[in-house]
């Protein structure tokens, strides 16, 4: 419940649209209720007057109820249409609010908070979670509030005529709208969890089958996999059958209770009519009214289901955004630097309390203008050193200074204005090559961009594309090879033109021929800059002034290459 309240607090800004949607939703339900009750009363009254002779016929006010019937019909049509427009408008506004809120929260936390979410599908789950949260208003909030308000009004209206009928309606609405769906959901919980789980297991098998097909076939393991899938499918179908029996029972029960409510209302009204305490015309009115009333609770079963999903999604999202930023830079204006020496002494950094030190007393001095190579195998602390320098993670011990200023004074944005990174993980946005380059320098001219592409040896490729700089990169456009993507990173570094350049395994995954060409072209960018070249291999280290070996979080031994 606390999660839902937090979610509601986020929705504050678009209150006008949200309230409007609810008012219209109530109006839609009540207009139908009005149409049916008035029609029933009107027909019966007209029939009574018709039977009572000419005088009664003349005395009967035909036009007001007839106009009322038309009025309710018109209101119903208009409010249904505008309700859907307004609630959807509110939903889209909320989506924008939510995404901006989430992004604003997440940006200071990245990349530390997203460490566990590196894989693309986990991130897509977050995006899907945000989309799910967004359904809260449309699928949960509006149906519940509108049902509650409309139910109160309708029960109150019944109360004017017969208390037992009003009680019957209230109970009927409560049972079909809340009790039956809740019982259904509770009974379906176990099967539902199993279904999710079985689906996930089946997905693992299917992905195995597709991605590992060569090995499955050559090792003759496909029949075993098919048997496993068949078995999973059998279990899945039987659980789903169980689930469908539960929902089917819920639907049947809802219908049954709705009908029984109507019967109870008719009996309660009939007793009063027989006793002369209620007009004859009120009986058909209440009968039709009780049928129309159930429209209010019809969306509640699905609302209840959404509520469960939304609560789970909201918990995951809040868990993510509630994290503390990994670093807290010393407040104050960005440091002004006169030189760009880096000096690390006895640096210790670990990612969690009690974890092993990823950097364990690292001493490293990199004077401005030098080209330093750093070689180490997996787990030696190479990525941690980059996380330290880029201010993605805070260090726990030791002293670090950049340009003579304490490293703790820098935010990651501040340090990024001095350092460019070229790495195998260069991210290319699914947009034009131009936009991907402008990222590095927003006000770059076309000539600047072409110059950068020239240096990166990518200009010919881009020129060969029909759309040139406006070629879209990624799935919707042209796919770049691993080498080409890294050349975009070089072009970005040229545009950004920072005093420092970090090369983070820049040739990882390239074939040797491409690797060599790439390293050759890097030389052009390195001139005049301080360069830190980090690798687990040896290729390219010969281009450095000095090479250090990193092992277990500290330097092993200096040596000239």
């Amino acid at each position: 419940m606390r999660v839902i309240l937090r979610l509601l607090a986020l929705f504050g800004r678009d209150g006008g649209w949200m309230t409007g949607g609810i008012v219209l939703a109530c109006l839609t339900i009540l207009a139908n209720f009005g149409l049916m009750t008035l029609s029933g009363w009107f027909l019966a009254s007209a029939a009574i007057a018709g039977l009572a002779g000419v005088a009664a016929q003349n005395a009967f006010n035909f036009f007001s109820p007839a106009a009322g019937v038309r009025f309710f019909a018109t209101i119903r049509v208009l409010s249904r249409y505008t309700e859907r427009l307004v609630t959807h408008e509110a939903t889209f506004r909320l989506l924008a609010t939510l995404r901006v809120w989430f992004y604003t929260k997440l940006a200071p936390l990245a990349p530390a908070a997203l460490q566990g979410y590196r894989a693309g599908d986990l991130l897509s789950r977050i995006v899907a979670d945000i989309d799910t949260l967004n359904l809260f208003y449309l699928r949960v909030y509006v149906p519940f509030i509108a049902a509650a308000v409309a139910a109160l009004a309708m029960v109150g209206f019944f109360g004017l005529f017969s208390l037992p009928a009003a009680v019957a309606l209230a109970v009927g609405l409560g049972v079909t709208g809340l009790a039956v769906p809740m019982v259904t959901q509770w009974r379906g919980n176990a099967a539902g969890a199993d279904i999710t789980n079985l689906n996930a297991q089946m997905r693992v098998e299917m992905v195995d089958a597709i991605q590992g097909m060569g090995e499955l076939l050559t090792y003759n393991a496909a029949p075993a996999l098919q048997a496993r899938v068949e078995n999973l499918n059998k279990r899945l179908i039987s659980r789903q059958a169980e689930m469908s029996a539960i929902t089917g029972a819920g639907m049947a029960a809802s219908g049954l209770f709705g009908n029984l409510t109507m019967l109870a209302v008719v009996i309660a009204a009939a007793v009063k009519v027989t006793a002369g305490q209620l007009g004859a015309a009120d009986l058909p009115m209440l009968a039709l009214g009780s049928m129309a009333a159930f429209e209010a609770v019809a969306p509640l079963p699905s609302a209840l289901q959404y509520l469960g999903q939304i609560r789970a999604a909201a918990s995951r999202i809040f868990e993510l955004t509630d994290q503390q930023p990994a670093i807290r830079p010393i407040p104050g204006s960005a440091p002004q630097l006169s030189h760009f020496d880096l000096d690390l002494r006895g640096i210790k950094l670990r990612y969690e309390d009690n974890a092993a030190w990823a950097l364990d007393g690292l001493d490293l001095h990199i004077p401005q203008g030098s080209h330093i190579g750093l070689q180490g195998s997996t787990g030696a602390g190479k990525s941690t050193l980059i996380n330290l320098l880029l201010r993605f993670y805070e260090y726990q011990d030791g002293t670090a200074s950049f340009g003579g200023v304490d490293l703790r004074a820098f935010s990651s944005e501040a340090i990024a204005s001095y350092i460019s990174v070229i790495s195998q993980r260069t991210y290319l946005f699914h947009t034009t090559i131009r936009d991907n380059l402008l990222l590095a320098k927003g006000d770059a001219s076309a000539a600047d961009l072409w110059h950068a592409l020239d240096v990166a040896q990518l200009a010919d490729f881009v020129r060969a594309q029909p759309l040139g700089l406006d070629t879209i990169v990624g799935e919707a456009g042209v796919r770049l090879s691993g080498g080409q993507a890294r050349r975009v990173a070089i072009a970005r570094a040229v545009l950004k033109d920072t005093p420092w350049l970090i090369l983070d395994e820049p040739t990882e995954g390239l074939d040797p021929v491409t690797e060599r060409a790439f390293l050759r072209d890097l030389l052009a960018v390195m001139a005049g800059k301080t360069v830190l070249y980090i690798t687990h291999r040896t290729a390219g280290l010969e281009m450095m002034d000095q090479v250090y070996a990193l092992a277990a979080g500290k330097l092993r031994q200096p040596g000239n290459s």
Partner: protein
């Protein structure tokens, strides 16, 4: 397009025709009982309000109604169960068929399909068919049956209101088709946009670190807001039209009820008609529109089923190439000759263009060449994953690979791809893929030969450690060595491997190379080499250029000759020395 998918889907439905029709029949009966219910209720109200009868007098009607309610509930429950049974059978059948088909197609066409997408089709896609069969199709039956039954009842009772209903009824589908088609087109456009917007947001999140590195994280907030806002505006423009569908339905339903009430009111007032028929028609008028309303809510079930079915049929429509059936006789050694192989993925872009070569028994042959020259394609042909368009592959001078049953060919070879796949399960289970009957001792020995024993026993659960589907928690070199252990355990006559040392760190690279050298002893080995170090260790080197053999022979011989191999060595610029593992280990 969607018009052609419906019949094909229904053809699938025919497999469970009995259950499907029975379920529909139950649903229609439950819906038709509503008419009987209205008749009883109208009698009841008339008898009490106008006949001045007390409750005791109308008790049979009350009991009748209660019984009817129970019957309706039972029928609706039964129809739900039966409808699921039918769709469950369809789902099972399609899932098996598609999986079989994909496995028959082999790895090459499957690689073209996005694997996540294909898995999605086989899981969520097939699930999307369920509401189509269990909701949409039965609803179609209701849309026809219920209004017709109501009209049939109302016509004899009061032809004027029957005409009103009849007039409103067919107009609705007409208007819905008119508005619906536009709405559908708009919907699909919106759907694309929605995907794009989600994709953009995902893109921004994935690139957040890059954005921060360029000091651009803050700017992107505005862009996220702007894109969401643009999307809202265009979507709402579309929805204004799309929602007309429901507005039209609402308009006719409300209009018909209001019209019935007003017209009856006037006639009742003048005593031209009894209360009973008027009330009966008023009770039935809303029910007349209920199935149509249901159809519009289940319409999106049809939309998503059709989208899913289209992807399914796309996969099922890929033709399976004919495979040979002859069993492979037991062979002691394997010698392979390729004669004039031609192969292309797309017409007009030959990958192999008249390639002839020989892989002698018991020797290691390295295939080298620049990327895109046909190395992988040649391996695929040798593995039988693809068929040459022309030419043939001959085993031991007598057997044509095309005529052999693929399963029996695979039995005598092991394949280690560049990125070996570890399957979800324990390390032991992954190694045992090479020989399911192998005992623990044999698995251990295979791991030891593959230089994998040390790191496996260092795992928390040893051989029983569960590894994720992508080998989570293991390094690239460790995954390679588990794959090699698999091959050791299989003990094949032929080993085909795609060298993957490019991404391994030096220590792993050394161990992998040692293991490969051990594994190669006494077998025919074909290795796609990406580094010259590997090629230099082979007995023979096959240099490919533009889908043909540019040079062939022992590396020592080729090195000195001024040919393709020497040029390649030149291009790799002494790569052999750099990846020499000894250099790093003695630092």
């Amino acid at each position: 397009m969607s018009e052609r998918i419906d019949p094909r889907l229904m053809a699938e439905g025919r497999r469970t025709r009995g259950a499907l029709y029975f379920g529909i029949g139950l649903g229609v009966s439950a819906a038709l009982l509503v008419i009987l219910q209205a008749v009883l209720l109208a009698h009841l109200v008339r008898d009490v309000a106008f006949g001045h009868q007390n409750l005791a007098a109308v008790a049979p009607l009350l009991w009748g109604l209660a019984g009817l309610f129970g019957l309706r509930a039972a029928l609706s429950y039964a129809s739900e169960i039966v409808a699921f049974k039918a769709s469950g059978k369809i789902k099972t059948y399609l899932r098996q068929t598609i999986l079989n088909h994909v496995l028959k197609l082999g790895p090459v066409p499957a690689a073209d399909e996005q694997s996540a997408d294909l898995a999605g089709t086989m899981i969520e896609g097939i699930e999307a068919l369920e509401p189509y069969f269990s909701r949409y199709v039965p609803q179609m039956a209701l849309v026809v049956a219920v209004p017709l039954a109501i009209l049939a009842l109302v016509f004899p009772v009061d032809w004027i209101s029957a005409l009103i209903l009849l007039g409103a009824g067919p107009l609705i589908p007409l208007f819905m088709v008119f508005v619906g088609y536009r709405a559908e087109a708009i919907n699909q456009k919106q759907w694309q946009k929605l995907l794009l917007m989600s994709a953009h947001f995902l893109d921004v999140l994935q690139g957040l670190t890059t954005l921060k590195l360029f000091g651009r994280a803050r700017d992107e907030i505005g862009i996220v807001a702007r894109i969401s806002d643009d999307y809202r505006k265009t979507t709402m423009a579309g929805l204004r039209v799309a929602f007309l569908t429901s507005a039209v339905l609402e308009f006719f339903a409300s209009l018909a009820i209001a019209l019935v009430a007003v017209v009856f009111g006037a006639r009742l007032l003048h005593g031209n008609i009894d209360f009973y028929p008027a009330f009966l028609v008023l009770l039935l008028a809303p029910e007349y529109f209920v199935p149509l309303r249901g159809l519009s809510t289940h319409y999106h079930a049809r939309m998503s089923a059709i989208a899913a079915a289209r992807r399914m049929f796309d996969v099922l429509d890929i033709r399976v190439a004919n495979t040979g059936t002859a069993p492979l006789p037991p062979l002691d050694a394997i010698d392979i000759v390729c004669e004039d192989l031609h192969f292309a993925y797309e017409a007009g872009a030959p990958v192999l263009d008249g390639l002839s070569c020989r892989f002698p028994a018991g020797q290691m042959t390295a295939i080298v060449g620049a990327s895109g020259v046909g190395k992988t394609s040649l391996a695929r042909l040798l593995l039988g994953f693809a068929k040459p368009e022309q030419g043939r592959i001959v085993i031991n001078e007598t057997l044509d690979l095309a005529e052999l049953a693929p399963e029996s060919w695979w039995q005598c070879l092991a394949w280690v791809p560049q990125n070996p796949r570890l399957f979800h399960g324990s390390i032991a289970a992954n190694i045992r893929l090479g020989n399911p009957q192998a005992d623990d001792e044999a698995v251990r020995e295979a791991a030891s030969k593959a230089r994998a024993l040390a790191f496996i026993t260092a795992q928390p659960e040893g051989f029983e450690t569960i590894i994720g589907d992508l080998g989570q928690g293991l390094s690239g070199g460790q995954i390679q060595r588990i794959a090699l252990a698999r091959a050791f355990l299989k003990n094949p006559q032929l080993l085909i491997l795609d060298e993957a040392t490019a991404n391994l760190d030096l220590e792993s690279e050394a161990l992998v190379l040692e293991a490969i050298a051990d594994l190669a002893v006494g077998r025919t080995v074909i290795v796609i080499a990406h580094r010259m170090a590997m090629a230099e260790r082979a007995d023979n080197v096959l240099v490919l250029e533009a889908g043909r053999v540019a040079a062939y022979g022992p590396p020592a011989q080729l090195r000195t000759a001024d040919g393709a191999y020497a040029r390649l060595l030149q291009a790799y610029e002494g790569d052999a020395e750099i990846s020499n593992p000894g250099a790093e280990l003695c630092v």
